[in-house]
C-alpha cells in the first residue's frame, strides 16, 4: 500500500487525511470481538497458572522452587532482569530517538512506551515472588519508624528498589503526558462512559498554541530525564551482580553489558508487538514496512554491541588473573549448562545476522520468529548469569551440583507473560496504540518535503 517514489519506499504516505488517521486508529479502540476475548482469556489463564504456583509457594515456603544452599537465586531474579530489560524499549524509541529527531519512531513509540510500563510492573511482581517474607517488603522503603531503622543504603538491591520506583513513575508520566492530545481526540469522538473517561484523561486539552508549546517542552524535559534514568536503572540492576564478590559476577563491564542487553531485548520485543499490532488492527498504513526495516537494522546494531560486550567479558576473564572466574567461564561452556549457554550465544550473536538481509527483513513471518528467538536468547542470557555461578563459586564444597528450577518457578515465569499480555491487551483497547498527532506530524513533514522537492 506504500507508494514508491524514486525507487525508495517512504516511512509513510504523505496524502493520508487527518480524518482517516483518526478513524483508523480509533477503530482499534472499538468494542472488542471474539478473537480479542479469546486471547485475553488465554492470557488470563496463563496468569492464573502463575498465581496458583505463587499461592502454593507463599503457603509452603520458597523450598518448593527447588532453590537451596548455595543456589539461592533462580529464575525469579533472571526473569526480573529480563523484564526490566524489556522495559528499555520504550525509552530507547520514545526518548532517545525523539531527541535525535528520528521521525520513523512516531507511529510505534506509543506501544513501545506502554511495553516499558507494563514490563516494569511485571518485573515488580518478581521482586515480591522472590522474597522470603514478602509481607514485610516495606522494610526496604525508607519510612520513618520508632526504631530509627533505615534500609541499608550500601546495598545494590536497595538501589534497585529506588531506581525502579523512579523509572516506573517516570515512564507512566511519559506515557501519559505523550498521550494527552490523543486522549483529546478520543474524547471528541466518544460517547457514554468512554467520553467521561477520556475527558478526565485529556485534562481539558484544546490544542491551543500555548498548550502545544507547553506540551512540547514538558515532553522534551521528561525525555531528557528518562534517558539517563534508564541507563542508570539497568546499570544498578547489573551492580547487583557486579558489586558482589562471586566469580562470573564481579565484572566491571556488567553495567554497560546489561544496558546493551536491555536495549536488545526491547528492540526485539518491539518487532514482535509491531507485527502483531499491525496485523490485528490493520495498521499497515502507519506501521509500515520501511519502519520495520529500520527497527530491524537498529536491532542488528544493538545485537552487535551486545556481542562485543559479551566477548569483552569472556576475553577479560580468559586473560585475567582470577583463576576461579576463569574456571567458572569454562564451566559455563563445558559443564551442565553448556547447552543453554551455547544456545544463548547462538541466539544472541548468530541469529541477528538474518537481519542483514533485506529480503528477510521484509518477511513478516521470518521477523516474528527471529524476534522471538532473540528474546529467548536474552532470557537465557539472564539465567546463565545467575545460576552457573552458584554451581561453581569460590568454595569447593559447592561444586559439582547442578541446579535446575522446579515447576513452581517455571509456572510463575509463564504466568508473568500472561500478566504482561493482559495489561497490554487492556492498553490496546483503552489507549490509542498509534500516536495520532505524531503520525499527522509525520505526514505533514512528508507533504512539505514533497513540495520542496517539486519546487527544487
Amino acid at each position: 500500500m506504500n507508494t514508491v517514489t524514486q525507487g525508495k519506499e517512504k516511512d509513510i504516505r504523505e496524502d493520508i487525511a487527518w480524518a482517516q488517521i483518526n478513524r483508523d486508529v480509533l477503530a482499534s479502540l472499538e468494542q472488542p470481538r471474539g478473537t480479542y476475548w479469546a486471547l485475553f482469556t488465554m492470557a488470563f489463564c496463563m496468569f492464573l497458572i502463575g498465581v496458583a504456583c505463587e499461592a502454593y509457594q507463599y503457603d509452603r515456603g520458597l523450598g518448593v522452587s527447588a532453590m537451596n544452599n548455595p543456589d539461592v537465586w533462580g529464575l525469579y531474579i533472571a526473569t526480573f532482569i529480563f523484564w526490566i530489560g524489556m522495559s528499555h524499549s520504550g525509552t530507547l524509541l520514545s526518548a532517545i530517538l525523539h531527541i535525535i529527531h528520528a521521525d520513523w519512531r512516531k507511529p510505534i513509540y506509543r506501544f513501545a512506551e506502554a511495553m516499558t510500563t507494563f514490563s516494569l510492573m511485571t518485573a515488580g511482581l518478581f521482586v515480591a515472588v522472590h522474597l522470603g517474607r514478602v509481607w514485610q517488603i516495606y522494610y526496604a522503603l525508607p519510612y520513618p519508624n520508632e526504631r530509627w531503622t533505615w534500609p541499608n543504603f550500601q546495598s545494590p538491591l536497595l538501589w534497585d528498589a529506588m531506581a525502579i520506583f523512579t523509572y516506573l513513575s517516570s515512564s507512566i508520566l511519559f506515557l501519559y503526558v505523550g498521550a494527552i492530545p490523543d486522549f483529546a481526540i478520543c474524547r471528541d469522538n466518544a460517547t457514554g462512559w468512554r467520553k467521561t473517561f477520556y475527558e478526565k484523561l485529556s485534562l481539558g486539552w484544546m490544542g491551543t498554541d500555548r498548550q502545544w508549546r507547553n506540551f512540547r517542552v514538558a515532553y522534551l524535559v521528561i525525555a531528557c530525564f528518562l534517558i539517563p534514568l534508564a541507563v542508570s536503572v539497568h546499570s544498578i540492576v547489573a551492580s547487583d551482580f557486579a558489586m558482589s564478590q562471586q566469580p562470573g559476577w564481579h565484572i566491571t563491564s556488567f553495567p554497560p553489558y546489561f544496558v546493551a542487553g536491555a536495549l536488545y531485548s526491547g528492540c526485539a520485543a518491539i518487532i514482535t508487538l509491531f507485527i502483531m499490532l499491525r496485523y490485528t488492527f490493520r495498521f499497515e498504513e502507519y506501521m509500515t514496512m520501511p519502519i520495520l526495516d529500520k527497527t530491524a537494522r537498529l536491532t542488528f546494531a544493538i545485537a552487535m554491541v551486545w556481542t562485543y560486550l559479551n566477548l569483552i567479558e569472556y576475553s577479560s576473564v580468559w586473560y585475567g588473573s582470577d583463576a576461579v572466574a576463569k574456571e567458572t567461564l569454562i564451566q559455563r561452556a563445558t559443564g551442565p549448562y553448556a547447552f543453554w549457554w551455547w544456545s544463548m550465544n547462538f541466539l544472541g550473536s548468530v541469529v541477528p545476522f538474518t537481519l542483514i538481509f533485506k529480503k528477510l527483513r521484509a518477511n513478516l513471518t521470518v521477523m516474528m520468529i527471529v524476534s522471538l528467538l532473540l528474546n529467548l536468547g536474552m532470557w537465557l542470557e539472564r539465567w546463565m548469569i545467575v545460576t552457573p555461578t552458584f554451581s561453581h563459586g569460590y568454595y569447593p564444597w559447592t561444586w559439582d551440583h547442578t541446579f535446575f528450577p522446579s515447576w513452581v518457578q517455571w509456572g510463575i515465569v509463564f504466568g508473568s507473560f500472561g500478566w504482561f499480555g493482559m495489561l497490554f491487551m487492556l492498553f490496546c483497547k483503552l489507549v490509542p496504540s498509534v500516536s495520532m498527532y505524531e503520525v499527522k506530524e509525520m505526514v505533514f513533514h512528508r507533504k512539505l518535503a514533497k513540495i520542496h522537492v517539486r519546487e527544487a
Partner: protein, 283 residues
Amino acid sequence: MSLEQTINDWSKIRQRHPLPGSHPDLKWAMAIDLDACTGCNACVVACYAENNLPVVGKEKFAAGQAMHWIRIERYWNEGDEASPQQGAQFLPMLCQQCEAAPCETVCPVGATNHTPDGLNSQVYNRCIGSRYCSANCPYKVRYFNWYNYPEQEKVWPEPLPMQLNPDLTVRTKGVMEKCTFCVQRLTDARNAARTEGRPIRDGEVTTACAQACPTSAITFGNLSDPHSAVAQKWRLQRVELEKDRQLKDIDGSHPGLRGYRILEDLRPYPSIMYLERVRDNQA
C-alpha cells in the same frame, strides 16, 4: 561514629577495613585444629541441639536444603578417590564471622551487621529473605528457612518441642540464619560478668560445637584477651586478624606453621583460624 571522626579519619576508613583495634576488649574467635578433627559430627549434633535447628529429612537434605550451621566437609587427595573411606580430610565449616563480611554490605534492609564484640549478627525479625547475603558469602555458610519447619513440615512431633532451647527462637520460613557463635550463651556470660563487675574469664563460656568436640579440635574464646587459649593459638601460628596474608603463606621460611584462614585473599578477614592437618608428605 561521629561526623568529626569520619571526616578526620576519612582516608583511613576508606583504605583499611577492618579498622585495627576496633575490638579492644572483646573479640570472639575460634581456632580449629584439622589434625585433631576426626569427622565424628558431634559438633554438628550439638549445634542442632543448642540452636533449635530443624532436621529436614532425607529428601530435603538431598535437595540441598539442610540447616546445619556447622557442617563437616570431606576432602580427599587426588588419587584417593578409589578408596574414599580412607584418608578423608575433615573440615568443620561454619560462619567465619568475618570482620569485613561481604554479607553485611549487601542486605537491602540491614538485617546483618557487626556487633561490638566482633560477631556478624543476623537479625531474624528484620530479614525479608532476599538472600543476597547468601549469594555474596564466599563460604556459603548461610542457611535460608525454605519451609515452615515446625508447623507445616512437622519436624518436631510431640514431645520433641520440649527439647528446644528456650534461650533462642525457632525461625520462621523466609528468614536467613547462620552460626552465631552461640550468642545466647555469650549474652548470658556477658550479663553474669557484668553483674559481678568482672571481665569474662577464658573458658567460662564456650560454643556448643567446641563443648561437644571429643578431641578438643575447636578452641573458642576472646581474641582480645592475650592470655586466652584462642589468642595464644593465634599468636603461636603468627596469624593476625587484620592481615590478609599470613606468615605461613608468604614464603616457605616457617615450615612449622600450620595456621591459616580460608579464602583469605578475598579479604573478608574471618575470625576462625584453621590449623592445617599434619601430613607425612608435602601438601
